[in-house]
Each structure stands twice: as C-alpha cells, then as structure tokens.
C-alpha cells in the first residue's frame, strides 16, 4: 500500500489509498534510528514518558553501540494496552534519523508499517508498502532554532512533535513530560518545546493520517513509576544498609554504582556531615571483590557491581569467599561476552560460569530478578542471604533490565529488619566460654562467626581457605577437609530454603510447561497468551527466581510431559543447571528455547520455536 498525505504538497505524487485503515490503538512499537552522541536520548525519553503520562503501558529499549559518538543507535518504544513489555519483533513506526542506516532500516519494516524520515532521504523509493511521512527536519529546525550549534539537539524534538500529531497524542502530556525532563533549564525547555510544536504543526498542516496507529488515553499507569533496573538495584542496596561499595567501571553495570553514589550522598550522610558508607573505585575487579570480602569478613554489608569480564576476574576470590565463608554481594549486569564482544548487547549467559565460579568444588547462590521491583527486593534479599549463609551471593540482572526504563508499581518499604546472620558478641562469648568458627551448632550447616574488634580473648580466629578444622586451626587431615566440604554442601541445601522461591502458574491440566527467568519472563508471558489465543495451547509456567532450586521446580517438571526452558544464551545454561538437579528420568522432558542475538528476547520468537517443537 503506497500512501502519502493529501494535504501535503505531494512532490512524489503517490496515489491515495482506498480507505483509511482501521485504527490500532495503544498497541504498536516505534523505532527511532539515530546516531549515538546526537542527543536523541532526551527526545526518546519524552516520547516514552508522554505515552506513559497518557496512562498507556509503555516500555523503552536502547540498542546502542560500544562507542561514544557517531555510530548507529536504535531506541524502541512499545505501547501495549495489554501491558506487554517485551521487545516487539516487528517495528510498526520507524523514525529514520540516521542517513547511514535509513535504507536498511526501511527495508527491514513489515508491510503496513510507517516511516517518518528526512525528506531528502527519499526512503519511499525503497518501499511501496509502507506509509511514508517525509519531514524537512533541517528546514523546520532552522526556523525555530537560530543558534546553529544547538540545531543537532533540537532536531530530535521535531520528530517528537510529528509523532505526537500522527499518533493523536495529548500535547499537554507531551509538554508536561518535556518540562519534567528539562526541569532545571527553563530556556532549554522553551526552545525544545518550540521544536516539538513546530514538528506537530508541520505534520498537522502537511499530512493526512493514513496509518492505523494511535494513542488513546487509558488509566493503566496511574500510580506507577518509571525506573531502570540498575537504579532499582542501587536503591535496594541502600535500603539494605550497604556500607562498603567497591567497583570498577564496566558497561552495563556502571550505573548501578553511579546511581548508588548519588543516593548515598543524598540520604546517608549523617547530621554531623560524615558518611556512614565507603565507596571505592578499585584498580580492577580483582581488587573490587577483594575489598568486598575483606569488608564482609570484618562485618560490613559490602557489594560490588560488574559484568561478565569482571566476573571472570573475580573467580579466584569468589572461591576463597566460598571456602572461608565470607559474605558479600555481587551484582552481575549480564551482557554479551567477551570484553571485545558486544559489550552493549544483552544476554543471560553468565549463569554456568557464576554457578561454580572459581576452582575446586564451589557453588554460589544466584538471585534472578525479572523486574525492576525484583531488582529492588532481591538486592535487599541478597545482603540478608550473604550474611545469613556467610557466602558470596550473586544477583544476575542484565543489560536489558539494568539500562532500560521500566514501568513499575512503586517499591514497598522493606519492613523486615536486616538479618545480619550468626554473629557472636563479646557478651555471647562470655556466656559460652568457647567458640569454634567452623562448627555446625544448629544443624543447618551454618556456623557462628565473630568480627574483628570483638573485645574477648577467645574471639579471634585465623581465616584461611579450606585447610582448617572446625576450630579454624590449620589442618591438612583428610577427614577435616572432607567434613568441611560436606558441611558446605549441606549449607547449600539450607540455601535452597532461603532463596526466593519460583513463581508457578499452573492449571493442573496442561502437559506443557515453560520455565524461564529474568528478562525472558516478559517474552514468555506474552508468548503464553499467543500460544493460547493462536494455537489453543495452555502452557503452565514456572519462573525461576534463584539458584539453588527448591522442591517446587522438581514438582513442576514431574507434573508435565514436556518442559520448554526459555533463556537468552546459546548453550542452554539454565537447562544444564536443571539437569544437574533433576532425577535422570525427568531430564528427558527438558526442551530448549534459546535466543542469543544480542537483542532482548521477543514473544514471537518463543512462540514460533515452541510451535515448531510441539509439531503443531
């Protein structure tokens, strides 16, 4: 369908369509193709927040290169009246601002989609089945922005106005979002608002709406917040009472600590002006984890945030943390590996390496948040678990969750007191008379510890790896080592009962079950609806929230014939962990749905793969 507008001076002179298409309200995706460093982030954010302000569920994803300026960047916005927040495989509206990619961007559209682009690019030549809205961006920009050097930035606001007009958006919502964005810069706000209006007016005067996509007000975002996962982790850590924070910058985790620093400076300075926290930018990730474990040993709530390459560097220390039983929290904001891989693309591919990170027999609890809300809650849970279990605890987020903005219910204040684990004070020691650092007193395989500085002659002990007996005395006796290893294994069983349990959605009738975790949840949630609506398949669903697994996982697998494990890595890493845990007879039920192209997983890909394997 070749279309253009009737009102515009029709330079290209296309034929008119027979009738305007049936409106598609609050269910579309927009992709803005720009060049990184061009300042489009504010415009994209305003567009996203304007849709949010109109009460429509919305999500935004930034697909950016590993580069500071000059390379192609895509920002996608998805509006969904159903509340779906996964990446939509098809783009409905393209805003092509990057001349270098515009041809390819145009060719990738599906028939019936929309393209807004710089007039001179003449993208219409590549497709006759896409609705085209050519805009003279530079001309309009020049008219509203006399200052030449600001034009590159202001130009982005023109497309906000054009999109707002074409989508019938509420300009009051757009203006409110824009003024919030430039809250402290009145002049910038005015200039940018003029550009939005210019774009809006141009579209109103020159285009006739010839596509189905529209925004209509809803009330689905009332009371909701917008936040990125890294900020949510940072808030979780602050409200968990973190006191020692160490880090080495690495995408996509840096903004966990950067935002945490901002929060701590604002909310954790005491009345006398002193800080009740320490943040250290370490020389590398080896030092960052060393500081975390040193601080944990001395009794502080300590954390670091990193990504895959940093995890590799932390391997040796993590093993020591496991054997010497030291608390610490490590946030892994996963990305595609390795260091010179695609550091700005998302993945869930650090699972296996973290599960048994280090040498010797080691295993480490992993928490798997699937929303910004869980980022907040699991950050808090991780500090409790690390001190309860006296071991390093990992929180596995990813670039998609961490660096993108998500709609959420506001976070609940953690009312439960901090659980600082089994620590003996000088008073306790006075009563007990003795203390054996590595003895299982309570039958849960978790021993008691003392902190350096405890004023009692019996408080001290010598911390070293695995060569010790229950009293922390040096020992190379075979039975001492074996006892230690068996207790550590039992401690891991205790962890099963303490980590967040899976969320199970089960009808009791279906033979098909899905298992997923983290950001794959968004696609799986939508895919289940597709499977039901399009194929009549009602698949049950278990969302893993932690490793080690608890009994629910085994029960879920046992009660289905076929289990699809959906994850964002090539090697079916979660499926492998499940295999290790399940009885051999059950493992044959496991099938794999994997997505590993660096983009966030989408529902259609999941549905197609399941349908294929089901032979429907």
């Amino acid at each position: 369908m070749a279309t253009t507008n009737a009102g515009a001076p029709s330079a290209q002179g296309e034929a008119e369509p027979a009738a305007p298409p049936k409106p598609l309200v609050n269910d579309f995706s927009i992709q803005i193709a720009t060049v990184n460093g061009s300042g489009s982030q504010s415009a994209n954010s305003i567009l996203l927040r304007s849709i949010f302000a109109m009460g429509v569920p919305v999500s935004g994803k930034n697909l950016f290169p590993s580069n500071i300026a000059g390379l192609p960047t895509w920002y996608t916005i998805r509006a969904s009246k159903y509340g779906y927040v996964a990446r939509k495989k098809d783009i409905d509206i393209l805003i092509a601002m990057n001349a270098e990619t515009s041809r390819e961007d145009m060719l990738s559209l599906h028939p019936g989609s929309v393209a807004i682009y710089e007039e001179s690019a003449n993208l219409r030549q590549f497709r006759d089945d896409v609705t085209c809205y050519p805009v003279p961006f530079d001309k309009i920009t020049a008219a509203v922005c006399p200052e030449a050097k600001l034009r590159k930035l202001v130009k982005n606001m023109i497309y906000v106005g054009v999109a707002a007009q074409l989508l019938s958006m509420d300009m009051k919502a757009v203006e409110a979002s824009l003024r919030k964005q430039f809250a402290k810069k009145q002049k910038a706000a005015d200039l940018n608002w003029a550009a939005v209006e210019a774009g809006f007016n141009y579209a109103a005067q020159n285009f006739t709406k010839n596509d189905p996509f529209m925004v209509e007000p809803m009330r689905a975002t009332e009371g909701k917040i917008i936040i990125d996962g890294n900020a949510a982790c940072a808030l979780g850590a602050m409200f968990a009472g973190v006191t020692v924070v160490t880090w080495y910058p690495i995408t996509p985790s840096s903004s966990v600590v950067e935002q945490l620093i901002d929060y701590l400076k604002k909310y954790r300075i005491e009345p006398d002006g002193k800080a009740n926290f320490a943040v250290v930018q370490a020389e590398d990730e080896l030092a960052a984890i060393g500081m975390v474990l040193g601080a944990g040993w001395a009794g502080a709530r300590s954390m670091t945030a990193t990504s895959g390459p940093g995890i590799s560097l932390m391997a040796e220390f993590t093993g020591l943390g496991y054997f010497a039983e030291l608390p610490g929290v490590i946030f892994d904001i996963q990305r595609v590996g390795p260091s010179t891989g695609l550091p700005t693309r998302t993945a869930q591919a650090d699972l296996l390496s973290i599960a048994v990170l280090s040498h010797g027999d080691t295993k480490h609890p992993m928490l798997l948040p699937a929303s910004v809300r869980e980022c907040f809650e699991f950050a808090g849970a991780a500090f409790d678990l690390a001190e309860q279990l006296q071991t390093p605890v990992f929180v596995l987020s990813d670039l998609d969750l961490g660096m993108n903005n998500w709609m959420s219910d506001p976070f609940d204040y953690p009312e439960k007191p901090l659980n600082r684990g089994k620590i003996l004070t000088a008073e306790d020691l006075k009563k007990l008379g003795e203390f054996a650092r590595y003895k299982d007193i309570d039958g849960d395989a978790i021993p008691y510890r003392t902190l350096p500085g405890t004023d009692h002659p019996k408080a001290s002990y010598f911390t070293r790896g695995s060569g010790h007996n229950e009293k922390a005395l040096y020992s190379e006796r075979p039975e001492d080592y074996q006892n230690l290893m068996e207790r550590l294994a039992r401690k891991f069983d205790t962890a099963r009962t303490l980590v967040p349990a899976p969320v199970v959605v089960q009808t009791g009738k279906s033979k098909v079950g899905l298992i997923a975790f983290g950001t794959s949840d968004f696609a799986v949630t939508e895919s289940r609806d597709q499977l039901k609506k399009e194929y009549g398949v009602e698949a049950d669903y278990l969302r893993l929230r932690a490793w080690p697994f608890n009994k629910d996982v085994r029960d879920f697998v046992a009660s289905h014939d076929r289990i699809y494990v959906v994850e964002q890595n090539r090697d079916a890493q979660m499926l492998s962990l499940l295999k290790l845990d399940l009885p051999a007879a059950e493992t044959i039920k496991l099938r794999s749905v994997r997505h590993f192209n660096g983009l966030p997983i989408d529902a259609r890909s999941v549905t197609d793969e399941i349908v294929l394997q089901e032979g429907i």
Binding site: I225, F239, L286, G290, G294, R301, P417, A459
Partner: protein
Amino acid sequence: MAATATPTPKTNRIGLPVLEYRGSKTTLCAGCGHNAISERIIDAMYEMGVQPEHVMKLSGIGCSSKSPAYFMSRSHSFNSVHGRMPSVATGALLANKTMLGIGVSGDGDSASIGIGQFVHLMRRNLPMIYIIEDNGVYGLTKGQFSATADIGSKLKTGVVNDLPAIDTCSLAIQLGATFVGRSFSGDKKQLLTMLKAAIAHNGTVMLDVISPCVTFNDHEGSTRSYKYMQDHEEPISEVGFIPSFEEIDVEYEAGSSFDVTMHDGSHLRLRKLHEDYNPTDRAVAVRTLMEAHDKGEILTGVFYIDTQKPTFTDLLNLVDEPLATLPQERTRPSKQVLDDIMARMK
C-alpha cells in the same frame, strides 16, 4: 607444671604479659628471617601496649604470609589470596577503621603477582602497617627469583638474575605512602624501633624488611644473605622512638637529627648518618635510594615520613564508629525517603 610459686609475669601498660602477644609455633625453617620479624612484631605490640583484639592481621600467600599465625593469636587474622592482601585489608579497614591493621607480605607477593594492588594501596595512604618480608626468592615453591632480586644475584642452582630489581621503598615513596623504611630481620634494635614508630603512625607504613631465606637464598652470590647484609647494610639514620606515654629524656640535637611529632604525640628521632638525608623530601629520598643501590649498598632506616597527609579514611569522611556494626537505624533510610524517591519517579 610443678606447684611451686612462680613469680608474677611482667606485664605491659595495659596489664598483659608478653605471652598474650604470642602466636602458634612457627612452621618456617629454623633461622628464617621471618621468625625474627614475628618476634619483633610481638615485642613492638607488647611494648606499645596495643590491645590484641584491636589488631587485624592480613596476609597474601607465601612463607611470609604464613607468619601471622606465629604472632598474636588473640588478633583476628586473614590469610587471603596471592598478591591480593591489599584489597582485603582495604575492605576490612573500611569496615572497621578503629582497628590497627598489620599486613605481612613477601617480595613475590608484593612486587611480582601483587604489584597492582600494592601500588594502589600505597597511593591511597590507607592507614595500616604493610611489611614486606623480603628475601628475593619464592620459598614455598622452592627457590625461584622474585622481582626484588638484584641484577647479577645468583640462585643456588647457578641461575643468574638478569632483570633489575623493583625497589618497593622507592615505589612506595613515589606513590604516596607516608612512612617508608627498610630494615633487616637481623637488626633487632632498628627493626623494633621502626615497628613501634609504625604503630604510632596514621597512614600507610611500608616497611621492606630484608629477611634472608636460609634454605634457598643464603649462599655466596645472593644479595639477600645474612653475610651480604652484614657487609652491605648502610643505615641512613639512627632511628629513635619515644612513645607518647613515655617522658622525653634524651635531648634533641638540632642539625644532626630530625624530630618528627607523630599523630598520637609520639616522637620519631632520626639521627643523620648520611649527608643528603632528609626524611621529609620525597625526591631526595628516592634519589638517595637509587644512588646507594648503584653503589651496591643496602640502605636501611626511615627514608620518608609525612604526618600531615590525609589518609584514605579521612578522605572518605567516615563516621567515627566502625561501619560494620552501625545499627539499622543509621544505615537504612526511612520509609519517607523511599516514598519521596518513588514520588519523583511517577
């Protein structure tokens, strides 16, 4: 034990006998310099009246790093990862800045595998005592060269070292440590005095203590042997120390001595034995070290001291109490704070 009356043991200023500063029996070789250093640490802590529970012992990996087990059993100790003790110490001392941290490392642990963390610890001026028990070889792996071995020094096997030594003292001075010196495990008086002054200092103390390895590096051709040290040790100053709790009874000789008032009111008295000596000038200190090294001398004494530079914990502006044990009321902001943050995100 026979039930005969034993005399009350001598105690220090906090009422503890020296026995309370001892550790487990050493498992290092008889005659190892490290054992002498452990003894001096015990003496220094005892004489300074340090409460053992207020000390954290930290170490990396190697013969030297085993030695914290052989002194002060009443102190918490952490034998960590090869070359990574500085990071563990940093974390531990940030968690509890009220503790006295003493780190024991070796030349391999600090100058080879650990040089990255070593330099950053020096740079941060983290308040702690950092001792390198320096014998120029790896003992636990049976006698390979470390990065502090001098050019031309010879292993027992006849292998000659052809790479220059890293001078950990010069490095520490350049990078920002605020109390830097070298001593010799065989020089009881000097080492003890320097350790006592180290306890009084607020900032990073870096002491490189030449500590001959009797098994792998005490032969002809070694520059870390007892014999070599006897022939080539060149004290740059005579180190004197008057703790804050003692009366000053020796007169200060202006011109030929430096008197440094330390953080806790103690006095470090350094009597010049070397003409260019000035322990407050970094450039002079480094030049003097390099020139002496070129002459084949091993300088000992306090090379550099700065009592004014802010420490890492000063820079972080930490609260007075240990972060580790702050109550939840201080570390978890109120519900109002969360509600405000949430409201701004709507």
